[in-house]
Symmetry: C2
Subunit: 148 residues, 2 copies
């Protein structure tokens, strides 16, 4: 008699892993979220305006802290992909829907997601997100006066 | 008679490419800087507080704009590495030395650098840097109230 236990998520592509990551953010599902990450103590996560988080425990603790305040209605848009056989870099513009005292608003976050192909499928190894913008970010604009 | 032209930089490791990238920033050397990047129209660069820059022309234009104001005295420190056979992710804390009206100061930038092994050696494909902090960033701290 076959087991009724569903097979673990295959995560057969970086796109599938990315979809799982953002769905888990929207659902506030910490287990599903962490299952998108590689089981590697060198994983790195930088939230907008936050410190560098290295390792599974630190990354998990930060997401648990966020989920204690609610879910995150973030949607990846305008994905640009750099694909190689064992790794992928996705640059996404995240549209984050927020409820504010003035009603619903969207903010934009520029994020870089890096995936590696592991024996357990494609997994997230780095997520770096910059502070949100109220306006949709311009593309390929000339950088103005920035630190570097 | 052998050519006297020096061989192109081998860029035999992600570390070598990273060293070239930061040396070129310090020297304001646009050709050396761009030689550290992959020859790929999907390369991505996000400067602190800046827009997403995609492609060689946009990335080059932003660095040329910066160099028109001076060199960038940025030094990668506390590098964390995720290495795979054909790609590498380096998370660095950049110490950026600045001259201010109050004298010399250091600012800190959190940067994620992604490298891929190409036929021309290890090349940078993504550089994502977050706005600088005046204090040395804490490590693995619990994220406070952030957008996500």
């Amino acid at each position: 008699m076959p087991s009724r236990k569903p097979p673990p998520s295959a995560l057969g592509s970086a796109d599938e892993t990315e979809a799982q990551f953002y769905e888990a953010l929207q659902q506030g599902d910490i287990e599903r979220l962490m299952a998108a990450w590689a089981d590697d103590e060198e994983i790195v996560c930088v939230h907008p305006g936050g410190p560098r988080l290295v390792g599974i425990a630190a990354v998990r603790a930060a997401f648990e802290s966020m989920f204690s305040h609610g879910t995150i209605d973030a949607h990846p848009e305008r994905v640009r992909r750099l694909q190689s056989p064992m790794s992928a870099v996705h640059s996404v513009l995240e549209r984050v829907n927020l409820m504010t005292p003035e009603g619903p608003r969207s903010a934009w976050v520029i994020a870089t997601n890096v995936y590696q192909k592991t024996p357990q499928g494609w997994r997230l190894v780095a997520h770096h997100a910059s502070p949100g913008l109220q306006d949709e970010p311009a593309e390929a604009a000339q950088a103005s006066s920035v630190l570097h």
